[in-house]
């Protein structure tokens, strides 16, 4: 690993995380990082840290805040596999202004691709502007309920991530998977219990959502809550149309 000096000479050591494409800085406080695709620029005023790489070249990283990103919270929460790695093609539903999308763009790098779908025009403007500097992001201002409207813009993807916070989100994921997620591809969905049913017990809501997903060939593998970063939120990770094992 490369040791280097951050601003002010504080000693920071940057190590690769267990998940490829994600890094951790060890210092006074540990922080999750992604390698900045656009060195010298922050997207949402997040902190940047530089370090010298193996070949003596300067490498810049951006801090990834788990309070602002569900994927970061899931990584810190110990999710087994995020399936967002260098070279991956990702369909991201509910991109908002693109703060998390920018980190996903860092992780997948120049050989990967992020199709970022957001319906709100206000957030969409920020998303489009951010994507101008990151050419591995394909911004799509359209309703994720209607994947047929953006079918010309999206290829087959390895991973589908959804953070749409809609009561019918299981259906939204199933529809998009049917169009764009390859067989054996991975999906990850963030479920905010109060967006589905604000009166029911969160665990009951998660269970009923998982049941809906299963019915659409979205086979869950793991589930974790996002405490302490988000309240009554769960992330479920699974496989789409798992390739059947041969019976022995």
């Amino acid at each position: 690993g490369g040791a280097g000096g951050a601003r002010g000479g504080a000693k920071v050591i940057i190590e690769p995380h267990r998940h490829p494409g994600i890094f951790v800085s060890r210092g006074k406080e540990d922080a999750l990082l992604t390698r900045n695709m656009v060195p010298g620029e922050s997207v949402y005023n997040e902190k940047r840290v530089s370090a010298e790489g193996a070949d003596g070249e300067k490498v810049e990283y951006r801090q990834w805040n788990p309070f602002r990103s569900k994927i970061a919270a899931a990584v810190i929460g110990g999710v087994d596999n995020v399936h967002i790695c260098p070279g991956a093609k990702v369909l991201y539903l509910g991109a908002a202004s693109g703060t998390t999308v920018s980190h996903v763009s860092d992780v997948v790098g120049p050989t990967g691709l992020v199709y970022a779908v957001e319906f709100s025009h206000r957030s969409g403007r920020d998303l489009i502007n951010m994507a101008k500097k990151r050419t591995n992001i394909i911004p799509i201002i359209e309703d994720a309920r209607h994947p047929h409207k953006y079918r010309m813009l999206v290829g087959m993807v390895d991973t589908l991530f959804a953070d749409v916070a809609q009561p019918d989100q299981a259906r939204i994921v199933a529809l998009n998977a049917q169009y764009f997620l390859k067989n054996g591809g991975t999906w990850m969905i963030s479920i905010k219990a109060s967006c589905i049913d604000s009166t029911a017990d969160p665990n009951a809501v998660f269970a009923s959502e998982v049941k809906k997903l299963k019915g659409d060939n979205l086979q869950p593998k793991e589930q974790l809550t996002l405490e302490p970063y988000e309240r009554d939120h769960a992330v479920v990770v699974g496989v789409y149309r798992p390739v059947k094992k041969q019976k022995v």
């Binding site: 489009i128 394909i138 911004p139 359209e142 010309m152 813009l153």
Partner: protein
């Protein structure tokens, strides 16, 4: 043979494929699922029939604007008519009466474009069901391999990037109220 064709709308242009292996009832079986996942097997079952690239960025943008509303743009109607049309009658004079001599059937991914095309192209029978959707998943997955030298994977991604920016910018710009379309 009647033959099933498949229409895939890409950011680079419209592509028509021919489903050559006849056993389409097996499409949903495990066997065909495997074939759809395997590029070598899939490219034996489905071949490129023809490809119509967009002339320029403007052509592509107007195509996606129409397509997203379920409208078949003139370029698509002309392309399908030329490739699969039963009669050479121009325009939409006779609807379904012309005895689809070619018997060509076209598989599409969404019913809206299917309806639009069957109204505009005489003698064309359109299919949109689980089988065609499954085959089109395969076409999307192996698109670069199927179109061969016409478009590389990098060309396709560049086309997607350019068109997505143009489409998304126009969406944001044409928001008449300038108010946000918040979702519930």
């Amino acid at each position: 043979m009647s033959g099933l064709h498949l229409l895939l709308e890409s950011a680079g242009g419209f592509a028509l494929f021919t489903h050559v292996s006849g056993d389409e009832t097996a499409t949903l079986s495990d066997e065909l699922q495997k074939a759809v996942s395997d590029p070598a097997k899939f490219s034996q079952a489905v071949k490129l029939h023809s490809f119509r690239p967009f002339k320029d960025a403007e052509d592509a943008l107007s195509a996606i604007n129409d397509l997203s509303e379920g409208i078949a743009c003139q370029g698509l109607v002309d392309f399908v008519t030329e490739q699969l049309g039963a009669s050479s009658k121009p325009g939409k004079s006779s609807k379904k009466s012309s005895s689809g001599a070619s018997g060509a059937s076209l598989g599409v991914v969404h019913q809206a474009i299917g309806n639009a095309l069957s109204e505009s192209v005489p003698g064309l029978s359109v299919r949109c069901d689980a089988v065609t959707q499954e085959l089109l998943r395969g076409c999307r997955a192996h698109f670069a391999a199927l179109v061969g030298d016409l478009l590389s994977a990098a060309d396709i991604e560049r086309a997607q990037l350019g068109l997505a920016h143009a489409y998304s910018r126009s969406k944001v710009k044409f928001n008449v109220n300038r108010a946000d379309n918040m979702i519930i």
